[in-house]
């Protein structure tokens, strides 16, 4: 069985093959083209060039149903079922069993559903509406649907991101079954442990290009991570690639923000960190390690099951975004289009949006004060706009980011959380944002920097807390803030005892 294709906009000449009965890992950072590749395989997108061969027959899918009929089924990261419909209906949608009158045979459908789910160790009433089940069980229903159609290829896009450990075991057992039945599994995940446990081979994508395909067994974790990130281990660290000053910052002695034991079901496990005034704390980790979730938790945007947050010695009792802003915590979100700027409003309106309550007296906003603040920030952040009245949607990505930064800075925060502040902006603007972060820290702001750009993280941060699987995996300070050390922690070079235990249980294949 082989598949080849090339030349999709987000995918540049990627070729790889999937063998019957193998579990094939597909890895890559954000924007590497994994999702595009999956969508091409499942018929959501059509490739601009290249071909797809299924069991040596060239195939073309113009819609998802065609791919499914050909035997390719997919489990998406977010459960793609209909929440209001019953479990059985979801599994059999589009291929319901009929009785002699040509009507749907519900008793048979419920019987088969129960048997199917029972095989996965899931006990759920087939009549129950799907949304009343837990996310993990819903994911198992999606899995049941995917394997119950006579699939030759099953694509799993981060199937474990919402599963509990017990359910992950069930999933792995099902994958083992599929392997035994000669079904090829394409497994997308960021969790190294899982990849090494269940996958035979791996394909690495980066920036839409094919980097590597090969056996996983012979591949060192460090090598895999460096391929994903595009960093040669031996590559000498080049100085001055980013625009951060070479020396660190003078950090204060007492932390301005202390977080202890932040826990949110399935997302964060007992995360503790402190942030000092005048420093840049880097938050490292691969995609899905809980970096953005941590930033959201600190800004009150992620509901927590437990954990404490102290700002300047006072504990925040009820952690809501409004309370966090009052306490002086500002978050620059990752997705600035969806969560930040209002494109139809002007630069001025966007900047003063969050500060409006402070600028108004009796509900009336003083235009003169607005103009003064906007002028200061436009000058200071060097926002390039024809006038303060230009619509933000017309600005470049870098300038949009600066407008957002200005919005939070005019609240005079103590803590600034920056989630991927330089993603998607051009090189020049990137350098400006970077030097701005430097200046802000020097002026005494505590900055938390999240970045997938390794160089940005290493040169920008004074300390780096590394996350893995929603928990703190290590902290680098001083001389340890270097690329090789970071890669080591990212790749989990010192496996925890429990990892050894699971490795020992692994069935030989």
């Amino acid at each position: 069985m082989s598949k080849r294709f090339s030349g999709v906009v987000a995918l540049d000449d990627v070729s790889f093959s999937l063998r019957a009965g193998e579990t094939h890992a597909l890895v890559g950072e954000n924007g590497a083209g994994k999702s595009t590749l999956i969508k091409v395989l499942t018929g959501v997108y059509r490739p601009d060039a290249g071909e797809l061969r299924l069991a040596d027959e060239p195939v073309r899918f113009s819609r998802p149903s065609e791919a499914q009929q050909a035997g390719i089924s997919t489990i998406y990261q977010e459960v793609n079922l209909v929440p209001l419909m019953s479990v059985a209906r979801n599994i059999f949608l589009g291929r319901e069993p009929r009785n002699r009158l040509g009507l749907i045979d519900f008793s048979r459908m419920h019987r088969e559903t129960a048997a199917l789910l029972g095989g996965f160790g899931v006990r759920a009433d087939p009549r129950r509406p799907l949304h009343t089940l837990g996310i993990g069980t819903q994911q198992m229903v999606a899995l049941a649907r995917a394997v119950s159609v006579n699939a030759q290829v099953v694509i799993m896009d981060e199937p474990t991101s919402s599963l509990e450990p017990r359910e992950v075991e069930t999933l792995f057992r099902v994958i083992g079954d599929l392997r035994g039945r000669g079904i090829a599994v394409l497994y997308v995940s960021h969790r190294m442990d899982e990849l090494y446990r269940i996958c035979d081979r791996v394909t690495v994508l980066r920036d839409g290009r094919h980097i590597h395909t090969g056996d996983l067994a012979g591949l060192d974790r460090m090598q895999l991570v460096s391929m994903m990130l595009g960093r040669d281990l031996a590559e000498v660290r080049r100085a001055g690639v980013t625009n951060f000053a070479a020396e660190g910052h003078e950090a204060a002695r007492t932390p301005v923000l202390t977080a202890t034991g932040l826990t949110s079901r399935l997302q964060l496990h007992d995360i503790s960190l402190s942030l000092y005034a005048g420093e840049v704390l880097g938050l490292g980790g691969l995609l899905g390690s809980g970096r953005s979730e941590t930033a959201k938790a600190l800004s009150g945007a992620l509901p927590l099951d437990s954990g404490e947050l102290t700002v300047d010695g006072t504990e925040l009792k009820r952690l809501t975004p409004a309370a966090a802003i009052r306490a002086g915590i500002s978050l620059l979100p990752e997705d600035r289009k969806a969560e930040g700027i209002v494109p139809g409003l002007s630069v001025r309106e966007n900047i003063v949006l969050a500060a409006l309550p402070r600028l108004s007296r009796g509900g009336v906003v003083s235009r003169a004060r607005q103009d003064r603040i906007v002028e200061i920030f436009m000058k200071r952040l060097r926002i390039k706009a024809s006038s303060p009245e230009q619509k933000v949607g017309e600005l470049s990505g870098g300038n949009q980011q600066k407008v957002l930064l200005a919005r939070w800075l005019c609240l005079e925060p103590k803590v600034l959380l920056l989630d991927e502040p330089t993603r998607g902006i051009d090189v020049g603007a990137k350098a400006e944002v970077q030097s701005l972060i430097d200046d802000l820290a020097r002026e005494g702001l505590a900055v938390l920097l999240i970045s997938s750009d390794i160089e940005e993280l290493i040169e920008g941060a004074d300390r780096i807390v590394v996350l893995r699987g929603g928990a703190v995996a290590g902290e680098l300070a001083g001389d340890e803030v270097a690329e090789d050390r970071l890669l080591e922690v990212l790749a989990d070079h010192a496996p925890a005892p429990e990892d050894n235990a699971t490795a020992a249980q692994e069935d030989p294949r």
Binding site: E66, V82, M85, E96, I104, R123, A124, E164, R265
Partner: protein
């Protein structure tokens, strides 16, 4: 015909467990919850029926004239036309769409039927069905293929159909009459035990509609499209085809209802059907169908239509009340239902 409608329910409490620990088996706790959930589901689904029965029983005691067979015949024949229109509307709303054109299409169907009845029984049925089906097809095509908002598309055809009707009748000056003693006239005026044919036709259509919705792939796809259009596409369901079909069906049913109405009135009255789309939507929503789509039932719509008809009839019985109060009462019911739905939808999101 409504055994297993996927209706939103108050979700069973989700136990939060610390991840990593061995979790207690889930099903043990389910038995009690399932019973309670079923009861809540039943209440949610059949709540309208309960209200309808309460109103009917109470009214029978207070107004003896209400409980008469004659009155029942009158109420149901009045309701039957709206019922047929609301049947199509239910299916459209289940897909998460809306069809505002049905009122105009209803009137157009009546005028076409009256005009064509001079050419015989078959023409009187086929002409309105063809034209109204074509309008529905146009709606469906623009919405599904053109990816346009159902609200705007059907608003446009509402205006278009009304305009077409005015052209056919010289701006309402000409009224086409159904020939006396014709087979077509009999379809609207004939009756079995005093219950007019339109009532029986509506009941048959509702029975068929229930089976289509619950026991066919097409029906299941309607729910899937309304519940999550993206998921339906990714599951490989024929989303576009289903949408086109459901609007066509809505147009056909509105046209048929108009034709039946013309047969009953013996003429193609041009002023009927104004605002009928809103009555149909009210009946559907009162019947428990979610306006955002994904859940609903044919039987609920039937009770919703009857409830609206009974309220109108009661206000007529009271006599001293201005008939305009009917709208006030229907509006009140609508608000109650929408508030209840919103509450249920919110508790669903927190799952």
């Amino acid at each position: 015909m409504n055994e297993t409608t996927p209706a939103p329910t108050v979700p069973a409490p989700v136990s939060t467990r610390a991840p990593g620990k061995t979790a207690p088996p889930r099903p043990a706790a389910d038995a009690g919850q399932t019973g309670r959930r079923r009861a809540a589901e039943l209440l949610q689904r059949q709540g309208v029926l309960a209200v309808l029965l309460t109103v009917v029983i109470a009214a029978s005691f207070i107004y003896p004239t209400f409980a008469s067979l004659d009155n029942a015949r009158g109420v149901t024949i009045q309701a039957s036309f709206l019922a047929v229109v609301a049947l199509g509307m239910t299916m459209v709303i289940i897909t998460g769409g809306i069809d505002l054109s049905v009122g105009s299409v209803f009137a157009l169907g009546g005028v076409l039927a009256a005009w064509a009845s001079q050419y015989g029984f078959l023409a009187a049925l086929l002409v309105p069905l063809t034209v109204c089906g074509a309008i529905g097809l146009l709606n469906g095509f623009l919405i599904a293929r053109g990816n346009m908002a159902p609200f705007i598309v059907t608003l446009a055809t509402l205006l278009g159909a009304r305009g077409l009707l005015l052209t056919l009748t010289d701006e309402g000056a000409t009224t086409h009459l159904v020939p006396k003693d014709s087979a077509f006239g009999e379809l609207g005026q004939g009756s079995v035990w005093g219950f007019g044919y339109p009532i029986l036709i509506a009941l048959v259509l509702f029975g068929a509609g229930g089976i289509v919705l619950q026991r066919t792939s097409f029906g299941q796809t309607l729910f899937a499209v309304g519940g999550s259009s993206d998921a339906a596409t990714l599951m490989g369901l024929p989303v576009v085809r289903t949408k086109i079909l459901v609007y066509t069906l809505s147009g056909l049913l509105a046209g048929l209802a108009g034709a039946l109405n013309a047969a009953r009135l013996s003429s193609g009255v041009t002023i009927v059907g104004v605002g009928m789309e809103l009555d149909a939507i009210s009946a559907v929503v009162i019947g428990g169908t979610l306006l955002i789509g994904g859940a609903g039932s044919i039987s609920g719509t039937l009770w919703g239509v009857l409830l609206l008809a009974v309220i109108q009839n009661l206000i007529n019985q009271i006599g001293s009340l201005n008939s305009s109060y009917q709208s006030v009462v229907s509006g009140g019911f609508l608000i109650v239902v929408v508030v209840a739905q919103r509450y249920l939808a919110r508790s669903r999101r927190t799952t």
